[in-house]
């Protein structure tokens, strides 16, 4: 990582203040009640992972924070500001960015257009050169149609485009889903580097093994609630419990 890159962002090591605070968050998809009072928080500079089985409400949690779900109650505070009544475009402008599970690469845009699509919302984002250093593949494929990329390249593009915007909280929804082990490894390295840069990352993962290589803390989600939480250091002591939560 070049020196300039370290200088452009404040290193997250000293920060221990809470940047995201979720309290009693409830959310609905139409008539179905998905989140039943989520409680958790994320500190600046941390990588926090939400674990849980399929349908537990992890993705819904990210969408609710982002303001994508119409009906939500409770409280989501980001840097002391209440988001629960804000529309998603305003939330994005405060510095939260989502990399969705389905990646959301646009077929009618080429790679460059996809990459430049999210507007810069504040200073401190990575430059294009820094992004190409992280993802050299993308530079060679700028003219390709977005959806012509391989699955791994699309995932990299989906992450890359939210690094430019200056968002300080990145929410990554299952970034390793369906990818080959070598690419998963590369994404792991990327997350580690982003953490070093001072980004705060909220990760949703089914792949616990992957999560354990990057996360500082874990929350276990079941039936739309956080039922447990522990740090990476406490992980060995909690392995049995975790296996029963996740059913692996």
């Amino acid at each position: 990582m070049p020196e300039v890159m370290m200088a452009t962002r404040q290193a997250g090591t000293a920060a221990t203040h809470t940047i995201l605070e979720v309290k009693n968050l409830e959310a609905w998809y139409g008539e179905s009640h998905i989140l039943h009072g989520m409680n958790f928080n994320v500190n600046a500079g941390e990588v926090v992972t939400l674990l849980g089985r399929n349908g537990a409400g992890k993705t819904t949690t990210l969408k609710s924070i982002m303001g994508i779900l119409g009906k939500r109650t409770g409280s989501v505070r980001f840097n002391e500001r209440e988001l629960i009544r804000m529309t998603s475009d305003r939330i994005a402008r405060l510095g939260i960015a989502l990399c969705p599970e389905e990646r959301g690469i646009f077929a009618s845009l080429d790679v460059r257009e996809n990459l430049l699509l999210p507007p810069v919302v504040r200073a401190g984002g990575l430059s294009l050169d820094q992004i190409f250093e992280l993802f050299p593949n993308l530079k060679e494929r700028l003219k390709s149609q977005g959806t012509k990329l391989s699955g791994g390249e699309q995932q990299m593009l989906a992450i890359a485009r939210i690094l430019r915007t200056g968002a300080s909280l990145l929410m990554l929804d299952e970034p390793t889903e369906g990818l080959a082990p070598v690419i998963i490894q590369q994404i792991g390295h990327t997350i580690a580097r982003l953490k070093k840069e001072g980004f705060t990352i909220l990760l949703v993962e089914q792949n616990f093994r992957f999560a354990s290589t990057v996360a500082d803390r874990y929350y276990v989600v079941e039936h739309g609630k956080v039922i447990d939480g522990f740090s990476n250091a406490e992980l060995p002591a909690n392995m049995d419990k975790l296996h029963s939560y996740l059913g692996v």
Partner: protein, 287 residues
């Protein structure tokens, strides 16, 4: 031969209007998912706007070319904010019925005050007369309509396919939720898009005023053919709607020369053929 060239020219002129109108319909459909049946009425409003500007404010053709699309575009944006936006997520049928109702109301109001006969609108001084091209005589105004329409169509294509703003538009057509979650005010963009599509219709109305006279039902007659053009070209593509618009105008013109009896139906016959072979239209994507 003179007659053939003359019909070709008429075809190109009609093609210009088809292209401008179907382009607006395609832009609106892509972003709002609404089949804008009010398009003909808005085209008519453009022509009337030019007429009012001249007879009330004393502002001539060139001002009308600028101001009428803006004024009618603003009217369109008010329609979108007050009525169309509530249709988001509903079946196409609702948008179709609502915009059809709007068209009937607008046309009814204009008919009430202006009857059904045409009001004259003179060709601007600078574009009067004609040029002898050797093989045919070209009225300057008609040549102007074809070239200006083509320029506007290509500029619109460039705006949508080659600029940053266009990239937002294309992305929001695919996945408005995600584009909004990137921090872009998508509802405002939808309103502006409707304004753009409507503005193109009004511009076509101004262009047509000196050729076709200004009548309350001038759009109602034209829009039926334009929808056939849209069906043939396919709703999805910007360039597709431009090319199909001009091409069908020319085909219509050629039919007038070779087999005049079929000239009013040729577009619809083509529509049937295309629907049989490729229901999404020549350049359209599956819905």
């Amino acid at each position: 031969m003179q007659a053939l060239y003359a019909q070709l020219l008429v075809g190109l002129i009609n093609g210009s209007f088809y292209a401008l109108l179907s382009l607006g319909l395609a832009v609106i459909f892509g972003m709002l998912n609404i089949i804008n049946f009010a398009h003909g009425a808005l085209y008519m409003m453009g022509a009337f706007c030019a007429y009012f500007l001249l007879n009330i404010a004393g502002l001539g053709y060139w001002w009308a070319l600028l101001l009428a699309p803006i004024a009618v575009g603003i009217f369109g944006m008010i329609l979108e904010r007050t009525l169309l936006q509530w249709l988001t997520g509903l079946d196409h049928l609702y948008g179709l019925l609502l915009t059809f109702g709007i068209a009937l109301i607008v046309q009814g109001v204009f008919q009430n005050y202006f009857g059904s006969s045409g009001l004259p609108y003179a060709i601007p001084e600078q574009l009067r007369g004609g040029m002898n091209l050797g093989f045919m005589f070209l009225p300057v105004y008609r040549g102007w309509v074809v070239i200006f329409s083509l320029v506007i169509c290509l500029a619109t294509w460039f705006l949508i396919e080659r600029t940053r703003l266009g990239a937002y538009l294309r992305a929001a057509t695919e996945n408005p939720t995600l584009v909004r979650a990137f921090g872009i005010n998508v509802p405002r963009m939808i309103t502006l898009t409707y304004g753009l599509g409507v503005g193109l219709a009004a511009l076509a109305g101004v262009l047509s005023a000196p050729i076709n006279q200004v009548r309350p039902l001038m759009g109602a007659d034209l829009i039926i053919v334009v929808f056939a053009v849209v069906v043939i070209g396919g709703m999805g593509s910007i360039m597709g709607s431009i090319i199909t618009g001009f091409a069908l105008g020319v085909i219509e013109g050629l039919t007038k020369y070779f087999y005049p009896e079929a000239s009013n139906t040729v577009v619809f016959v083509l529509m049937v053929l295309v629907l049989l072979v490729k229901p999404t239209g020549l350049t359209g994507r599956a819905a």
